[in-house]
Amino acid sequence: MHDTTAFENRLLSAARSEVASAAISERMSHALGLNLATPGGGASVGTGATAGKAATGTATASLTKATTLLVLSAVLVTAGIGLFYRAQRSHQGAQRIHQEEGPRISESLPTRTLSPSPSTPAQPPAPASQPAAPAPRLEEPAPPRELNHSRLSQTHRVDLEAEVKQEIGLLDAARGRLTAGQPRSALTLLTQYDRRFPRGTFAPEAVALRIEAYVAAGDATTARTLARRFLKEHHESPLADRVDHLTHVP
């Protein structure tokens, strides 16, 4: 039993009770072209079941408030979507371990209704092993490049956007080859990526994909070497756990 103090409960209750104001909700929905009505003001907008009562307005196609930052950030995130789906597959076989963790702190509190958690159908994770192949040259990964506000100047905006799309296209192609059981071909594409984008926005993603390709190609030694370097340089990256899991780096 996970016992909590009254003070902890007070803090958690305060955290759960915060809601976006009606103005915030409308700003978000209008920016998406959804134009959703928000009856009852901010305190009742979109919280669990009550949100479903909001009326759906006529959608407009224009992205009225989406800034270039928004667009490029969205592009940035799409690079991680592949990882999301790989992880989705790998977690489909996972069993719920709620009992091992004990009850939520919040279970002892009067709480608002939360939408039910979706269940994940059980499926075995896809095998990743491939026949061993000669190890190619271990290439030095390029340092990651930050995509930040300062890079989003008018001058570079268009070029950067096109470049980011090209990067994603190449990484998507490499990921496709890897998924198709062609790790050597994926590595070739990743080498092209490194040459074309030595300071690519998605350089960490490229390295993680390269590590996965080496694992799939049976070159565990190279994969581990790259993984150690990756975990040292990108230990805070959301990819770190994935890389660690791939190679079981000590």
Binding site: F7, A15, S25, L32, L34, L70, E101, R104
Partner: protein
């Protein structure tokens, strides 16, 4: 591939094609917005963003969802949105509004930041506590204890193994307890037995 202005009206055509599917896509996105935008926004707030930045980052997550709507498995919309929103936050708001900590938790830093805690609201105290914890622990703690996600759903959102969620949750609970206790003592010391 993401296209500027790619909203539901511009959604990629499905195999069936036609405006009907576009409407269906838009309605699905609208449902996702109604059901989850508060959770997304609140999670980003607890992650450390102010109200406006949380709205911006949450909005970006929905733009990504609009683009990838066909790829989002039914039932995993919330995990997709939360995972995407947190990735956006990490990429664009890296520790901008967070305490700068090197370790999981630094009570000395908390002490320095928390002078005058008696004047803070409970919500500000929560953010003070979470700000003293390592971000990856905060994410799991908020999603599990405050937003009610299951461990597999959190694992899906954060693309980490379920076992990692469990270990982070355990550490997060320990951290939150220690920080909350410290804040409570501060309140008592300042005569703020509210």
């Amino acid at each position: 591939m993401f296209r500027p202005g790619a909203l539901p009206d511009d959604a990629r055509p499905s195999p069936e094609g036609g405006a009907g599917m576009q409407t269906a896509a838009r309605e699905r996105l609208a449902t996702m917005f109604r059901d989850h935008h508060q959770t997304v926004w609140r999670t980003l707030r607890r992650w450390g963003l102010d109200a406006s930045s949380a709205a911006d980052a949450g909005q970006q997550a929905y733009v990504v969802a609009a683009e990838r709507l066909d790829d989002i498995q039914r039932g995993s919309e919330r995990a997709f949105l939360l995972g995407t929103a947190l990735r956006i936050a990490r990429a664009n708001f890296r520790k901008a509004n967070r305490l700068q900590l090197e370790e999981d938790m630094d009570l000395r830093t908390l002490d320095a930041k928390a002078e005058g805690v008696d004047g803070l609201s409970d919500l500000q105290l929560v953010d003070l506590a979470l700000g003293a914890m390592e971000p990856s622990l905060v994410e799991v703690f908020v999603l599990y204890e405050m937003e009610g996600l299951s461990s597999p759903e959190i694992a899906l959102a954060l693309t980490v193994p379920v076992g990692t969620v469990a270990s982070r949750l355990r550490r997060a609970r320990e951290g939150f307890r220690a920080v909350a206790k410290r804040i409570e003592l501060m309140l008592a010391r300042e005569g703020g037995a509210r």
